[in-house]
Symmetry: D4
Subunit: 251 residues, 8 copies
């Protein structure tokens, strides 16, 4: 039931006199929410957006995260848990036997009704180095779970520019491009200058001292001299995957 349906029903009930004015107002915004005390699950959102419901697991206790995942799985076919530990996965597995765990990406994926993927609208996930791969996998698996064909191109940073140039045509064949880089983050600018597709840049906290936990790559990407580049948070592979997926489903 979508938000639109809910509001329609409320108004109908009010018109018919089944609900008083006060009751209408009080119920107005509360439908489609499950309140667990420490969490307030918004089932409506996932329905409205056509994507799996997502749980950010870090900062929650194992029992809290496990309950949230289980409740969501009872109402949604597809559920994604990000920044999930293996311990959390082992905890929910008895209840969610179909769930998979992606170690590098730290994702728990439950895909009872996988979303269709359009091979003509691919998302390319590109990394500057091998150390960026865990964040890249978080982006790639997120995008796949949300119904996108993903092409992985790893370790093509600008220190050896011809590795990148050798794969330009491949990259240009994608519809949306995610660039993941630490250190100075220059790869986003170079890729942005080579393609006419949107580039989502993810700075990573990979690097020596003055990287300052990703600040150098973050500033580098924000200041990209190439237009057509927008940036998500440091190490936020999930956010990049979701943003790319939203763009990739536009027609």
């Amino acid at each position: 039931m979508s938000y639109e349906t809910d509001i329609h029903d409320l108004l109908e009930a009010y018109k018919s006199g089944d609900l008083s004015e006060d009751e209408v107002i009080s119920r107005f915004h509360r439908l489609n929410v499950t309140d667990l005390g420490y969490a307030c699950l918004d089932h409506d959102r996932s329905l409205r957006r056509g994507f799996p419901e997502v749980v950010y697991c870090e900062g929650k206790t194992i029992p809290q995260a496990a309950s949230i995942l289980t409740v969501l799985a009872s109402r949604h076919a597809n559920v994604l848990g990000t920044r999930a530990s293996r311990e959390l996965y082992e905890t929910v597995k008895p209840d969610l036997p179909e769930a998979l765990y992606y170690e590098q990406a730290r994702l728990i994926v439950l895909e009872k009704e996988p979303l269709p993927k359009d091979p003509d609208h691919k998302i390319a996930v590109i990394t500057a180095g091998t150390s960026d791969v865990p964040i890249a996998e978080e982006a790639a698996v997120t995008a796949e779970t949300m119904g996108n064909e993903v092409m992985r191109i790893y370790d093509v940073g600008v220190a050896g520019i011809h590795r990148l140039l050798g794969r330009v045509e491949e990259i240009r064949s994608a519809n949306v491009i995610i660039v993941i880089a630490g250190m100075e983050g220059a790869l986003a600018s170079v890729v942005g200058g080579l393609v006419d597709k949107p580039v989502i840049a993810v700075p990573t906290s990979v690097g020596y001292g003055a990287n300052f936990k990703g600040l150098s790559a973050l500033l580098g990407m924000l200041n990209s001299c190439s237009a057509g580049v927008a940036v998500v948070n440091i190490d936020n592979g999930f956010g990049a995957g979701r943003m790319a997926s939203i763009i990739n489903h536009l027609r």
Copy 2:
């Protein structure tokens, strides 16, 4: 005995000749203080302010913190220990058997004479997410211990704005509002725009990379476009609880 009483007695003793001028001056400021060497307990403050005496336990050794709590408990009915470890609690328990430990809030609470609570002057404690709950509990239990009715509304962050809108009337019924959020801290601005009560905002260190240990939420809340919002330190649930309690006791 308050500061006012002390100064009166000193002046009397001086007038009657019991104390020399020098003695008056030297005793002037020292009454009502217990000096443990490493700590200088100010019994007067708690009396003057009508609140339990509070011990910030972090950065003190277990024996130091335990002594301070025990000495205070010998002179005050209600004592609060913040940022307290379970180990500290186990250490003081034999001496303070009525003391309780709130795990999430990391508080030790001794409430031999609980302060009265006025149900018509509630404090609402609102969080953006589940990960903010430990700080929220620190604020809520602090406020309760200081004699306030507390209403908890958790996980209503702005990413799903109707979760919040569904509870606006409830929030408006509070006298003072504490908003606790990490990431961008936007919840403070949105709540501030919806109510005409004071909002105490607590930034938390919850979030991905460029959160920079709470800096993003801190700056977000300080720059709130809603007036009627003031901010305490990052993760400082105690400070918010106490500030809200002081405001809530004004008449």
Copy 3:
């Protein structure tokens, strides 16, 4: 007309069939707003909160700010313009002859129906130095316009602590306290330790080099060792005045 009235009328019109469901939804949130293209005036807010409508004038062109002030003045008795230049004041004066300009505070105040002030609930505005006075005046005049008795205590910074100590009783007689200081902002902590009333701290950008445009005072106040202190943005006298006024009207 308040938000509550609006929603009532809409629901009535819907019930009676005067409005279709679609029309109800579309009108639902739009009442009580005047759209000037570059500004979207929210008349409802001021009514709901019992305060004058406020215009932040900085960053707007003179014609924009002047139009906004004039439109608001046509629907509200009291209007406040913050960060207003004298040039703006001269521009609006022909249309708003009762408006006053406070040079130091940079405020334009239109008070056709001054709000009543309760002499038993004063707000104290305290500064560390003379250089903090413009921000203090912004806070004080804001609070006065919003219906508060204000007590000004200026230049009592901690470098000469007995200046402050000599006025403690006066300060304690206030219901809410605003402390304004640059440099290290220590005054907030000292005042916070001397009173049992809420302290709103305003860091200012006054000081030598490593003040970093108010950062030192901001961090100092956020890290205040006294509880009962909350902080607003650097140089934000208006925000402090409004926050103090909201608190001061609680009963």
Copy 4:
């Protein structure tokens, strides 16, 4: 002539013996570039990407910027100059009489062959306040010049959330959304939670002290709790307009 054509011609000439191996390599990358000494114009890029050629005018002298604009106008139908002063506009106007100047947006626009706009794929440009309008206009005019229908929704910041809620359906009708906000930048998170379209967030340097020239809004937007939000540089209306346009032309 595109990059692909160039490389084809070079290879043909080499095969036929018209060019030696050395000549092929040396000419390989240099076609389609005009070297002015202080600037190296890349005509190929604009052709390849289907957009007007863009000149970032700030930091260039008036004569440099004017020459670059004129040279580009001699080879391209549409040219855009960003961060352009009125003085620059007056300088180039005799040579480019069709050029327009957008004062607020600081753009020089030459549109001899305006690009077609698809009314079913709109870009919404939303601001939190009136002070954000100049950056919004830079984004909006950029997007229009690049062939997009633009819908402007200004001054709907979260301090008065129902202003925004009243226009949600309108916003949802857009294909791509640009959100422009200073202060805490919360509008991006709230909009991101209400739509299922990509949101490009532009932090602005509007605000009081601890805004730190846009840092607060930047961090706020990067840490947005809503997925589907990506960020460009502070005050970078052009970058947002171009990114949105690239996304809006995907099918």
Copy 5:
């Protein structure tokens, strides 16, 4: 042998023909240095300055630090090791049985010929809180080892200003004052305003989130509104002790 003696001997040997010009130059600066490969011990410095030789142990391996301490002890009566672990102490103890270990201060002290202390020139070491005591002990023991009478006054922070005021005369009796505080560091300003003796301020990394590992106290102290305050590095109790000792030995 001091630097002055060395240069005299070199010149004599040169005059007498015992050393060639080249040899003079090459030996010129190298006397009184023991080179251990990884460390270059400067015996001359300690002689010249009348203080024990000091070893900063952090960042050195246990064997390196132990060797340095042992070599110095073979040529100097008094040696001080700062930031020393208990493990290091256990390692050097067999070789330096008279050495003492100060756990809180993390100091190893070898005092074979304790320096005389002048009871009329005391150094006061004052802390804001109990958590600052370890740094205070580092300062106090350093000063004692360097031949100073030390007066400890702990936990008299400004949140309860009368604790401090009660001890002003005691503090004024010192010749040099060290103030150690975390959080906002306000104690330095208050003390600086109460005395006419030099105040050495030590910011500590004690505090909640926006303390940023001592930055708030550091900036607070640097921006002290009281003159007569100078600052050393965060948590640098040793530096404060040594600076105070140098000042305290001036006549």
Copy 6:
């Protein structure tokens, strides 16, 4: 009249019945203060500390600063105005004809009864470069006004270390040393290693880009590898002069 005298008189008056208890308390801290509304002049402080009264003129309006200077001059022989503009000087000159203006140092100095200077206790003021001279002059004139013989040694930065080495004996003859440097501030460490006198370091905002308005020199000096160095605020020549003077008057 000193603070000590005041308190004695108050107590006497109380004992004799001339003052009630309440009156004693209220007068207790207020003597020796002149309240100008925007400024609260603390005459007692200067008397107690044996130094001229000092006015920080920046951030005050010309009339405010002029009044403060004039009032102080009516009660004190010696007055110092820091960060004073020539315009302010011209304003006060008719009232204070003996006042001098030091252009580079931006100081107004009124010295009706110059303090005696001890030629055996000199303060050395050393700069790394010529650009640091204005701050050095602020320090030097401040120290002179407070009764100190000053020795100026300018432009002996570490890039040409033998310039400094050639003057070591001269520097060692001083009792207190002020080192003023921008850029990396290395001069403080080098001087600190060459002398056994206290070094007050003043970072300046002189330098290229990554100097960040003095931050590089500030951090450099705080992290000095030489003990015996303490730091005052960026460009704070006055603070250094006063600190050095306080130290230089110790016996």
Copy 7:
């Protein structure tokens, strides 16, 4: 096979008709690269530059790093692994028995055909303290592996300037100089002023609090008042070694 050879072969094959135009373009940039999925090894680079191939091991899993090292060793005589753990070394040792592990420097070095070293072109590696030695060893061993004679001069920081002065001639005999220092990094400026050779400065994260993980030394070195100093990343001994080696091989 170098890049130059590859392009020649491709063009020949195209001319002879062995390769179609499309095949030429697709193969153009891809030769001499081994793709392991998570890493894309660029053999050509090392050949072209005459240096060993280098693997940055941090952030890679042990199996990933081990595979990369082994594949490189199968095609190159000399391989260097930086930031390598002992565990990684133990893993690769069975496959690469000639490989050595440098514990302090955290380097794995495989040198089957050591590069020749020119004794007339030495690189000096100088540290301020003993704690900087691990970074110095990373620089020194890197430079040696790349074919340079290295001279180590450790613990000659500026706090005892004559330790440094005694070794100036030795330092001047080097062709390139690496200066490694934490704290304030002043050594780079002093050395830069004493020599006329290029100085590569490496800031280290050694030091007390306000060192901020190397920031103080980094800013200090960037702001060096001596010309002829350039800086690499914090703790980046490898980068300094390689930069020095490149310079040292120029003729």
Copy 8:
């Protein structure tokens, strides 16, 4: 007369009895320095290093800078003034008629005996954009004045990578390379990966908001994923030119 000659003469005079021991020591370091009071000119340095004497003019008054330039010109054939205003140039021109002024580079150059240039050892100066040209000219003219052939390659930033690739051979023909870029500074990494010559990177303060006055380019360059890159201060074209020249004169 070099430092070596000076020390020889001093020792000779001492041996012959013409100078007492004290006189030797006192004269030891002071030769070859002209003291102007506010400046201490070190003639020896320029002789020793074989380069023109350089004056950093910013932060000096016009008369100070003019005197320094004139004194140096009286003893040296070649003098360079950096960050010089046209006003300064007009002031010195009557005294130094051969001096030239480079407007963009802000350099005053006096070249009475131009240093020889070796055409086989060129320095390449490369910029990312047109806005970087003033800094590039400062570097280029500095290098030319110090006796180097310079090759200028401007506006070849990575947003259009083939502009750069078309000039790789030209760049590789240089002996030392200076890369100048603002925004994200990615050009340094890309060039560093394409050449086997030392790259000196200069971050510039060119760019939109989050460039933070060059910080983004600075961090980007320090974190360059290409080895063989070292960095000088933001906008420090002079430093890069001098560093490159020192390297370029090595044989």
